[in-house]
């Protein structure tokens, strides 16, 4: 058994309010540390129920052009794992309730050192991890130590995860299940709503955990449609695309960078709250 985390508490609260979670993704340090901290600080008030914070990586194999670009912007601005953890620590000084899930690829964690990373992430106030390229077959490597450290390890289920495989994917998952709505990369084709509903139902038949849906969700009405039957929706590429669009001619942040992101999150949140 794992201890209840901020993620568990947040889903319990949303259940009472009878609304789906808005899960927002941004890359830590995009387009620069200062702007990224402002975005992070503004997300809860704008309507983000759970924050996924991307750990930038030079080779994000499962991501589309928008998130690749956001990751590279952050790295170019000098971002690294230590700075990502420091961002979470400063966020936690002001916000004790909004869950933060670090999302990314295994190598930067492995090089930081798995045990040291888990301890530092927990101490900084991280609640959960999504590590795209560590499958359940390698659970003893990172997933089980993360659970021991008091962090949720959130697993992706995909359209290729058939019924035979689903139990293995769900086995050590905690916090929530992230259903990847398409076979493809982030920010690609829009998912087919009916297919998503059927798949979410299939997964919920095998786990009591909340199921959130992501990949290819970019507008309020679409988020609303996708969220029916699910416990939440993840929006990532559409948000980082707003960052990209707002940048000045030298790639620098402008006043629209923070306000643009928060306006989109506001719109998404309002759509999900509407009847």
């Amino acid at each position: 058994m794992t201890h209840a985390t901020r993620i568990d508490a947040r889903f319990a609260q949303l259940k009472k309010e009878q609304r789906p979670a808005l899960v927002t993704f941004v890359s830590a340090g995009d387009p620069d540390l200062e702007t990224s901290e402002k975005i992070l600080a503004g997300l809860p008030a704008a309507g983000a129920d759970i924050i996924e914070l991307g750990m930038p990586f030079s080779d994000p194999m499962a991501d589309g052009p928008a998130i690749q670009a956001s990751s590279l912007r952050a790295l170019k601005a000098g971002h690294n794992m230590t700075k990502t953890l420091a961002m979470v620590r400063r966020f936690r000084e002001r916000d004790q309730t909004t869950p933060i899930v670090l999302m990314g690829y295994y190598n930067p964690i492995y090089v930081y050192g798995n045990a040291r990373f888990l301890a530092d992430a927990k101490a900084a106030g991280v609640d959960g991890l999504i590590v795209v390229d560590v499958p359940p077959e390698a659970d003893e490597e990172l997933c089980l130590p993360a659970v021991d450290a008091g962090l949720n390890f959130i697993r992706l289920a995909t359209p290729t995860t058939d019924d035979k495989r689903l139990p293995a994917v769900l086995k050590n998952t905690s916090g929530f299940v992230y259903y990847v709505s398409i076979t493809g990369i982030t920010g690609a084709a829009a998912p087919v709503v009916d297919d998503v509903h059927a798949q979410v139902k299939r997964i919920k038949g095998q786990t009591p955990l909340p199921v959130v849906v992501g990949f290819g969700v970019r507008s309020g009405p679409q988020a609303k449609a996708i969220s029916r039957g699910a416990d939440g929706v993840v929006v990532g590429s559409a948000i980082v695309a707003v960052i990209e669009k707002s940048l000045g001619s030298k790639g620098e942040a402008t006043p629209e960078t923070v306000s643009g992101v928060l306006a989109l999150v506001n719109e998404l949140g309002a759509a999900l709250r509407s009847a």
């Binding site: 499962a62 190598n107 492995y110 090089v111 499958p135 992706l156 995909t158 290729t160 076979t183 690609a188």
Partner: protein
């Protein structure tokens, strides 16, 4: 090899040829570090490959193609002038540059295309660096009438024009990759993105002995024909096994193909030669993952990588487009750690000198990749006795590199 006195002690391995384990690990290295969307496909592939291996008709098909299509066995050639000039070991070239398509890459492509068809896949994708693998993939796809898309870095497309033309002529669709630095690792990222999007009908034909399990073991198996032939040919020519074998390493498929059949012959010294670029002391100026990198996880496996202290992958550099990959096959990483194989690095300059030396001494223009192995032979051979039998894998021909070499030497074409 005598086994009477050797106990299966704790530290001593019984065999260097039994890996990987059932989860795809060679000790610490290898494994299956891929996104969930790909995981069921990787497991499918493993099942299909295991079934094919157990089916004698699969191997018979490969044997037939090797003989009649690829032109195997490739000769084991005694390089007599080079031997005399260097004044030491007796140097043999394993002539894999004489294969159809001009390199060892065809060995792997023939095996994998047969497997893809067994699996009912109807679309083939691949990554390529120097274009040798891309050409081999485009070739087998043309032969079997399968649509083929090749991912190649924009920088590599520019420096490997002859291979680009060959792939197009063979009917492949070439996708120029501009993300990252536009070289081999970025091409591999794009190929993985394609695969994750087109999971139902697409087969990803990886060109080197790296990536998630079962690729490293499977590519090694298909390339092991090099070492098996070299072994028989040396026994026929000299009546005994070689004393020294040498091969160049980017991802390491030609090298593991030559090395693997010799790993349990304790008397055979084995050298793997990485691309030292501008020198190992130049930051991000080389592509020597093992002699100048650290362990990490990329493209589905744990192995030695060129990376910074934050785990961000570096681009690396080599004059040879086929060697500047920031990783290396996991079996090599394991063979480095257990000490069975000695890994060294050769610089751009040394490789260029070796290319010219071989061309003038033997009338063979090697590719820049095996020119790295040649440069190591030039260092090593003079230190060895005259009865030391040395085999070097001449894994590719130099036609594709003429523009690069001419530019580096200040020649006008």
């Amino acid at each position: 090899m005598s086994t009477t006195t050797q106990k299966s002690g704790e530290a001593k391995l019984n065999s260097y040829r039994s890996g990987p384990d059932d989860r795809g690990f060679f000790g610490l290295f290898g494994g299956r570090f891929v996104a969930e969307t790909l995981m069921p496909l990787i497991l499918d592939l493993e099942r299909a490959y295991t079934a094919a291996k157990a089916d004698p008709t699969f191997q018979a098909e490969i044997d037939h193609l090797n003989l009649h299509y690829a032109g195997r066995p490739s000769p084991l050639y005694y390089a007599d002038r080079m031997t005399k000039e260097l004044g030491g070991a007796k140097i043999y070239f394993k002539r894999d540059e004489l294969n159809h398509t001009g390199s060892h890459k065809i060995n792997n492509c023939l095996g994998q295309i047969l497997l893809a068809m067994r699996m009912g896949k109807t679309r083939i994708i691949a990554e390529t660096g120097a274009g040798q693998h891309g050409v081999a993939v485009a070739t087998v796809c043309a032969k079997y009438g399968l649509p083929c898309e090749i991912y190649m870095g924009a920088v590599d497309i520019e420096r490997q024009a002859p291979n680009v033309a060959r792939m197009k002529l063979l009917g492949a669709k070439l996708n120029s990759v501009t993300s990252g630095a536009g070289t081999l690792k970025d091409a591999m990222n794009e190929a993985l993105r394609d695969w994750v999007t087109n999971v139902k009908d697409t087969y990803y034909l990886i060109g080197t002995a790296a990536g998630p399990h079962p690729y490293p073991a499977m590519v090694r198996d298909f390339q092991s024909i090099i070492g098996k032939e070299a072994r028989e040919q040396m026994l026929a020519a000299e009546g005994r096994l070689p004393d020294t074998v040498v091969a160049c390493i980017g991802g390491g498929s030609n090298a593991i193909g030559l090395f693997h059949p010799f790993l349990d012959d304790a008397g055979v010294a084995i050298y793997g030669v990485e691309a030292g670029g501008h020198g190992l002391d130049v930051e991000n100026g080389h592509a020597a993952s093992m002699t100048g990198g650290t362990p990490g996880v990329l493209h589905g496996n744990r192995t030695y990588l060129l990376q910074n202290s934050d785990g961000q992958i570096l681009e690396g550099h080599s004059i040879s487009a086929g060697l500047d990959y920031p990783g290396v096959g996991p079996e090599h990483a394991w063979l480095k750690n257990n000490g069975r194989v000695t890994y060294v690095a050769i610089t751009d300059r040394e490789a260029l000198e070796a290319l010219q030396f071989c061309t003038r001494m033997e009338g063979i223009i090697p590719a820049l990749e095996p020119s790295h192995a040649l440069a190591q032979v030039m260092k090593l051979a003079p230190t060895l006795p005259k009865d030391n039998l040395l085999v070097m894998n001449l894994c590719g021909r130099g036609d594709k590199d003429l523009f690069t070499v001419a530019k580096a030497l200040g020649m006008k074409i």
